[in-house]
Amino acid sequence: MSEYSEPTSQPGGAPPAPLWEVFVRARRGLAHTHVGSLHAADAELALHNARDLYTRRQEGVSIWVLPAAAITASSPDEKDAFFDPAADKVYRHPTFYEVPEGAAHL
C-alpha cells in the first residue's frame, strides 16, 4: 500500500526500522506485484514479516522485499514528459493491471 515517500521526521529513541516494499508473485506465471510495505531491521526479517503479513491466505508463491530507500521514483512534476510518449503505444501494454489482489479469496 505504500508508495515510497520520505518520512518527515524521526522521533527520538532507537533508530526506526527501515521501510521495505513488498512484491508478491500470486501464482506461477505471473509477475511479482507490489502489495504493500512494512518495517524491518534487515532483509531477512523483512522477508519473514512479509510472509506473515501479506501471504496469510496463500496469496503468494514468491516474495521480494526491497528497501524503500533504494527506489528512485519519477517526479510527478515530469509526469507528462515521462509517461505521455508511451500513451499512444498501446501495443506495449501487456496484461499490466489484471493481477487481482487477493485472488485466493474469490
Binding site: 500500500m1 508508495e3 518520512p7 526506526p16 531491521a41 491466505r57 505521455d84 479469496h105
Partner: protein, 356 residues
C-alpha cells in the same frame, strides 16, 4: 455505479459484493487514464481528479488540509485495529474449543495485519509509523471508543464480530471508494478479510443462542451491553459532526454518520431475529414513511466521556500498549544493532575484495 455506492435492494448479503464493485470501479477509474498536466495550477488539477472520481496518489499535489485529514483518519483507523486486538485477545487463552481458539487467534492476528496495512497507507502521506505510534502512546491521537469497553464473557467474542465488526464494515465499505488511492486499496484488502470476522462472530453467537440456557443468557447479556456502544461507533449525529462536510466534498467520506447508523440498524434487526436474540431497544419499530427502523439513539454524552478517556478500559488499553512497546524496546534495539553489524561486515568484505 458512481453516486450509487449502495445498490438499492441490498441490506445484508451484499457487503462483500460492494467491496468487489469498489475494486472494479478503482480499476476502471485507473483505466480511464488522466493525461494532461498538473501544470501551473495543481489545485485545479486536484479538483478535477476528485470530480472525476479518480484517485489521488502519494506524490500528487494535494491541499495540506486534505493530507492532514487523511493522516488523522488513517492513523486513528490503524490505532483502532491495534488497540482493538486487546478486547478479543483477552479470550484467546480461554476459548472453549480448539476450533474457536484457532479462529479467534487468526482473527486477532488479522487485526494486527490490518493495522499494519493502514500504517503503511498513512506513511505514503509523509509521516512515519513511529511518529504515529508515539502520538497514540502519548494520547494525542485517538482510536475507536468501542475498544474501551471490557469483554466480560465469551459471548462478547460473538457480539464483537457481529455488531462491532458489522458496524465497522458498514463504515469501511464506502472507504473502499475513498479518493486517496493507497487508503482505498488498503480498505479493499481489509474489507475482504473482515467479512470472515463478521460471519464467524454471527455463527458463534448463533451457536450460543441455540445452546444451553446459560449460554443463551450469556449471549443476550452480551448483546445488551454492546448494542448502544456499537451504534455510537458511527460517531456523533450529523448535526454535531465537525469533520463531515469537508471530508464528503473530498470524497474521503461518502455517507454521513446518521445515514450509516440507520443502515446498520436496518441490517441488524433481521439478523437479531434469526439469532433469536432481542436488541435492547423497546422503541425499535419499522417506520413505513421513512423506509427504515425508528430506534433509540445511543447516549452521545457517554460517547464523549469515553472519547475523552473516561471509559471503563481506556487506561488499561493504553497501558497495555505502552507496556508492550516499552518491553519490546531492547528487542528492537538488538535487531537494529545486528543489522548494523552485518552491514558493516558486508562492507568490509567488499572492500577487501576490491583490494584483492
Amino acid at each position: 455505479m458512481y453516486g450509487n455506492d449502495f445498490p438499492a435492494d441490498d441490506t445484508s448479503s451484499g457487503l462483500l459484493g460492494e467491496v468487489e464493485a469498489a475494486e472494479t470501479a478503482l480499476r476502471e477509474a485507473a483505466e480511464r487514464g488522466r493525461h494532461g498536466a498538473a501544470g501551473a495550477d495543481p489545485a485545479a488539477y486536484f479538483a478535477e481528479v476528485i470530480a472525476a472520481d479518480q484517485k489521488v496518489e502519494p506524490r500528487d499535489w494535494m491541499p495540506e488540509a486534505y493530507r492532514a485529514t487523511l493522516i488523522r483518519q488513517i492513523a486513528q483507523h490503524a490505532h483502532s485495529e491495534i488497540i482493538g486486538m486487546q478486547p478479543e485477545g483477552n479470550w484467546i487463552t480461554r476459548a472453549p474449543s480448539l476450533k474457536r481458539k484457532a479462529i479467534l487467534l487468526a482473527k486477532v492476528q488479522d487485526e494486527a495485519g490490518h493495522g499494519l496495512y493502514l500504517y503503511a497507507a498513512a506513511e505514503t502521506l509523509g509521516v512515519s509509523r513511529d511518529e504515529l505510534v508515539d502520538l497514540l502512546l502519548a494520547g494525542r491521537q485517538k482510536y475507536s471508543s468501542i475498544f474501551n469497553y471490557p469483554t466480560l464473557s465469551w459471548a462478547d467474542m460473538g457480539t464483537i464480530g457481529w455488531l462491532v465488526d458489522g458496524a465497522a464494515i458498514v463504515n469501511q465499505v464506502p472507504l473502499c471508494r475513498c479518493s486517496y488511492g493507497p487508503y482505498a486499496r488498503a480498505m479493499i484488502r481489509i474489507c475482504k478479510e473482515e467479512s470472515f470476522h463478521q460471519r464467524q462472530g454471527y455463527e458463534l453467537l448463533h451457536t450460543l443462542a441455540h445452546g444451553t440456557p446459560a449460554q443463551r443468557e450469556m449471549a443476550q447479556d452480551s448483546v445488551n451491553r454492546w448494542w448502544y456502544p456499537s451504534l455510537a461507533m458511527f460517531g456523533p449525529p450529523d448535526t454535531d459532526s465537525t469533520h463531515s462536510a469537508q471530508s464528503m466534498a473530498w470524497k474521503i467520506k461518502r455517507f454521513s454518520n446518521d445515514e450509516l447508523r440507520q443502515r446498520f440498524v436496518d441490517m441488524c434487526v433481521g439478523q437479531a431475529e434469526v439469532l433469536g436474540l432481542t436488541l435492547p431497544d423497546p422503541a425499535l419499530c419499522w417506520n413505513d414513511e421513512r423506509g427504515g427502523y425508528d430506534f433509540t439513539q445511543p447516549d452521545y454524552a457517554e460517547l464523549m466521556r469515553v472519547i475523552k478517556g473516561a471509559g471503563p478500559c481506556n487506561r488499561q488499553r493504553m497501558e497495555h500498549r505502552r507496556r508492550a512497546h516499552r518491553e519490546g524496546a531492547w528487542v528492537r534495539a538488538a535487531a537494529a544493532a545486528y543489522a548494523a553489524k552485518q552491514a558493516s561486515k558486508k562492507e568490509q568484505a567488499s572492500k577487501k575484495e576490491k583490494v584483492a
